[in-house]
């Protein structure tokens, strides 16, 4: 059976996070779109579902910004595929976006963790 979670348990990606996930995935080495999608899904333990259409548009966007570069190649199972790899500029962005994200999650954690709403207290 294909390893797929019940669609209801999956979380739609937050706006803007897809770019970061793509960059992070490509740190490991050049990869094609389908691989990136699989990788994100797998590494998020199937929590994230990547809309493939959005993924390819995001890849195109990143390519337009010159954070990643692309070229056609051949996959390990001998299929033609378009391979993406990080550029130097992309690496810088990855560092920057990661620290941005960490600050965001810390702030979110502070708010959500330290002051739970009154309604949850009662419950």
């Amino acid at each position: 059976m294909p390893s797929q979670k019940n669609p209801d348990d999956r979380i739609a990606l937050l706006q803007g996070t897809l770019d970061l996930l793509i960059l992070k995935t490509l740190v490991l080495g050049p990869c094609h779109g389908q691989g990136v999608a699989r990788s994100i899904q797998r590494r998020s333990e199937e929590v994230f579902f990547v809309d493939h259409g959005s993924l390819y548009l995001a890849l195109q966007r990143l390519e337009d910004k010159k954070w990643i570069s692309a070229k056609w190649g051949v996959s390990e199972n001998n299929r033609k595929a378009r391979f993406y790899s990080l550029t130097a500029k992309g690496r810088e962005q990855l560092v920057e976006k990661t620290s941005e994200w960490e600050r965001l999650t810390r702030a979110m954690g502070l708010i959500l963790g330290s002051s739970p709403g009154p309604s949850s207290e009662e419950a």
């Binding site: 294909p2 094609h32 389908q34 699989r38 493939h52 390819y56 299929r79 595929a81």
Partner: protein, 869 residues
């Protein structure tokens, strides 16, 4: 933004690769090949949507659509060149005419006069019951100048004619005498040389003059050393001190070539009751025209009291100089502009209904696109684009038409009149006209875009889809199309009525009783140097020699001389009183003409009583006069004027004249002005160095002119002869005739176009509605309807539209004619003949236009009509 390095095909390729990779992986996970492929597809979602998003990413969607719409619109137009050409031509005509007329309105009424702070410049004069602009006398001017506080400067000018003597002989020239500060008041500085010095306009000042630019250019070869040279005017040497700039023009001065300071005066001009100088003043900052008038009125009154001027109740008049210059043409220009705008409206309506008809025939296309998911906004965009394109093409063509019309109209204005309209030079495509043109184009585009949008609003998709299968005309079209045609007909009626009234005015004007026979009369103006012809004997000798030599020419019947030709103006007037009657200081103003014995017979002015002048009426005999009937009726109501006497100040000397004859009223003044009382004195008793020669010929008078001029020069080569023309031409060239002819012609042209457009519009509506009802008519005929009843059906529809258009149009045209009342002459705004003619013309044209579709409808073969769909 436009770098699009990656093609959509490449992107599609990548998605295909993705699906294959995904399917491979799913197959590895144990799915069958087909199932894997299916799952991969499901996981990907909508491939087409992704590709569309890729295509649309950072593209300006609206721009993209626009380009596509324009391409489609161009295809639509080229597919139907007849429609496109008609629409663009009609628009070009409407836009062109209105932009061209606006060009004139702009130049004449909107552009400020070419002087410093022109809004401060006022035409300052006296004002009487007879004339709101009564010239000043020189002593009055000096007092006004001294006493007022409203004007920072006050100056006067007065036209003058001189004989210019140069190497090529004598030539009459136009000049303007001006007071010293004239050019400073206007804010004009000579481009070469200097303005008058302060002392140069005092009595006895030096003979100096300024040249107009054109004179400097043509007569002095634009040489800088012209300054300091002398010019011989009337045998006196004038020193050239300056040249006026190229841009300078002063409309009331006409095409004056020389500008001379007022520093020598005739005996008349020294008198307080000799009104001949026109004033201009520059208001002090903050002073309004009303305030200035309020100050000048008491001054005028006070001077009258102080110097015991009775009989004339003179007040002051202070009106903006621009008002004086363009006041005459304003009503005409505004009328023409309104006419042009109506024409534009009719053109828009016409093209609008063409567009409607087309959108009607494209209902199915629209319905199909709507059913396939095009939003109403997207559909509207398409039609707006088509309107836009049509409007733009029409406007572009309109600009070209406008440029052509402006040049044509400019060249139609005769030269003599053009010199009084300096604004004609600035008519053209400038910033103002461009803005106006853009506004007009925008309106046209909007209305063309709005028409099909209205149409879409009412369109129901299913109705549109079904329409192709049914054959009834859509109710929407019938309603809107019919309303539009009524609008067109109303406008056509208004323009036709305007043209009719103006045309009748022109006819009336040209058929005003002249009191003489203008055909076969050759005229020319002659100036004899008063340094050569000094004594009575010399001048009278010249008169006699001219009459003798001219009369002996073959083809000449009689010849005579006058101080002023008829149908010119009620000017050169005289103040008379009657010896033996109590004089209460009444101001009895009459036209005064000095004529030779042959003049009145040459005009064929009918003698009512008494006799014409004879050669015996010379300085050695008692002074005699002939009066016209108006004078006789006004001042000798119940008695025989012959033998009575009139008295005046002739050349500053009190004189008494015995009336020896009464002639029919020869129209001395303009055609559109009531005949004035007139007196004629023998030229032999008044001596006149400037006069007009009138010759009655038995053959074509125009061809006689060169021989007449030749004869005069044989008598004395130094006689200055000018303005040789025929009497009919002279009358046709008077301002009244020209203005009336101009407006009648133009409005007539507008009306003709409007009539054609309106009738074509009506034809379109009827023909279209019939083509939509072919099936219905077929059914009717199959059921036994007679051809005559089919005719009646069509004609009823057309008749109803025409009658509605006519009824509304006639009411509107009475309103609009009241607005142009000032341009009408001898016709009332509600002139029944004109209005019924218009009604008949339009009704006839409409019926003719609808007869064709009616005939076509009646010839429908019911079998074919029913089978057709």
């Amino acid at each position: 933004m436009f770098k699009r390095t990656r093609s959509t095909d490449d992107f599609a390729e990548e998605i295909k690769a993705h699906l294959e990779l995904e399917a491979d992986e799913l197959q590895l996970e144990g799915l069958t090949e087909d199932e894997a492929r299916r799952r991969a597809h499901i996981a990907f979602g909508n491939v087409g949507a992704a590709q569309e998003r890729f295509y649309l990413r950072d593209r300006m969607v609206w721009f993209d659509n626009l380009l596509r719409d324009i391409r489609f619109a161009i295809r639509q137009l080229t597919k139907n060149p007849g429609f496109a050409t008609t629409a663009i031509l009609v628009l070009a005509l409407g836009i062109g005419v209105s932009v061209a007329i606006f060009g004139f309105v702009d130049a004449a009424l909107l552009e400020p006069l070419p002087y410093t702070n022109p809004s401060q410049l006022m035409s300052v004069n006296e004002s009487s019951v007879e004339s709101p602009r009564w010239p000043l006398s020189y002593p009055d001017y000096l007092d006004w100048q001294r006493m007022n506080h409203s004007f920072s400067s006050l100056d006067v000018y007065s036209g003058a004619g001189y004989i210019l003597n140069n190497s090529s002989g004598a030539e009459p020239v136009q000049a303007e005498r001006v007071s010293g500060g004239f050019f400073q008041t206007l804010g004009i500085h000579p481009m070469l040389g200097r303005d008058f010095y302060p002392g140069e306009n005092r009595p006895g000042g030096p003979n100096v003059l300024l040249l107009s630019y054109g004179t400097w250019f043509h007569r002095f070869g634009a040489r800088r050393d012209a300054i300091g040279q002398t010019v011989d005017l009337d045998g006196r040497a004038f020193t050239i001190i300056g040249v006026l700039p190229h841009t300078f023009s002063f409309a009331p001065g006409g095409s004056a070539e020389f500008w001379v300071p007022i520093n020598s005066f005739s005996d008349h001009e020294k008198k307080r009751t000799f009104y001949t100088f026109l004033g201009i003043g520059r208001l002090r900052p903050g002073v309004t025209a009303q305030a200035a008038l309020a100050e000048m009125n008491p001054i005028a009154k006070q001077l009258q009291l102080q110097y015991g001027i009775t009989g004339l109740d003179l007040t002051a008049s202070v009106v903006p100089l621009s008002e004086m210059i363009v006041g005459d043409v304003r009503p005409i220009l505004l009328t023409l502009l309104s006419g042009a705008l109506l024409l534009l409206l009719i053109a828009c309506v016409n093209v609008g209904s063409l567009v409607l008809v087309r959108s009607e025939s494209r209902r199915r296309e629209v319905a199909v696109r709507g059913a396939l998911g095009a939003t109403p906004a997207r559909l509207a965009e398409q039609f707006v684009t088509e309107g836009l394109l049509l409007g733009l093409l029409g406007s572009l063509a309109g600009m070209m038409v406008a440029a052509g019309i402006m040049r044509l109209l400019g060249s139609l204005v005769p030269k003599g009149m053009a010199s009084n309209m300096p604004f004609l030079g600035s008519v053209g495509l400038n910033a103002h006209t461009a803005v106006f043109a853009a506004a007009v184009a925008m309106l046209v585009v909007l209305s063309l875009a709005a028409t099909p949008m209205l149409r879409l609003l009412f369109l129901e998709v299913h109705e549109g889809m079904a329409d192709g299968d049914r054959g009834s005309g859509s109710r929407f079209w019938r309603r809107l199309g019919a309303n539009l045609v009524v609008v067109e007909l109303v406008i056509a009626v208004v323009l036709l009525a305007g043209a009719g009234l103006l045309g009748r005015s022109l006819y009336r004007l040209l058929h005003v009783p002249l009191g003489f026979d203008p055909s076969h009369l050759a005229t020319m103006s002659v100036m004899a140097l008063d340094t050569v012809y000094k004594s009575d004997e010399q001048v009278i000798g010249l008169y006699r020699e001219i009459v003798r030599r001219v009369s002996s020419l073959p083809g000449v019947q009689t010849a005579g001389m006058t101080s002023m030709l008829p149908v010119q103006c009620n000017c050169a007037t005289d103040r008379i009183h009657f010896p033996g009657r109590p004089d209460h200081g009444e101001h009895n103003e009459v036209d005064e003409r000095h004529v030779s014995p042959g003049y009145l017979p040459a005009l064929r002015a009918a003698l009512v009583r008494g006799r014409y002048f004879t050669e015996a009426d010379d300085p050695s005999h008692p002074r005699v006069a002939i009066i016209n009937q108006v004078l006789a009726r006004k001042y000798f109501p119940n008695e025989d004027p012959v033998g009575q006497r009139i008295a005046n100040d002739e050349s500053g000397r009190p004189s008494v004249w015995e009336i020896v004859g009464v002639v029919d009223d020869v129209r001395e003044g303009a055609l559109d002005v009531e005949a004035w009382p007139a007196e004629y004195f023998p030229i032999n008793q008044t001596r006149q160095n400037n006069f007009s020669l009138v010759v009655r010929t038995s053959q074509d008078e125009g061809s006689m002119l060169p021989r007449l001029v030749n004869t005069l020069h044989q008598i004395d080569s130094n006689l200055a002869v000018s303005d040789e023309t025929t009497m009919t031409e002279k009358i046709d060239a008077t301002q009244a005739a020209l203005l009336h002819r101009f407006s009648a012609l133009l409005v007539g042209g507008f009306a003709a176009i409007a009539l054609i457009l309106g009738v074509v519009g009506l034809y379109g509506v009827i023909a279209y509605s019939m083509s939509q009802r072919t099936r219905e008519i077929g059914v009717r005929m199959a059921l036994g309807a007679q051809r005559s009843s089919v005719y009646a059906l069509v004609m009823r529809q057309a008749g109803w539209l025409t009658a509605t258009g006519l009824a509304i149009g006639l009411v509107c045209s009475i309103g609009s004619s009241l607005l142009i009342r000032s341009l009408l002459f001898g016709v009332e705004a509600w002139d029944a003949v004109t209005l019924s003619l218009v009604a008949f013309l339009l009704g006839f044209a409409s019926m003719a236009a609808s007869f064709l579709p009616a005939h076509r409808a009646a010839s429908v073969n019911p079998v074919e009509a029913l089978r057709a769909e």
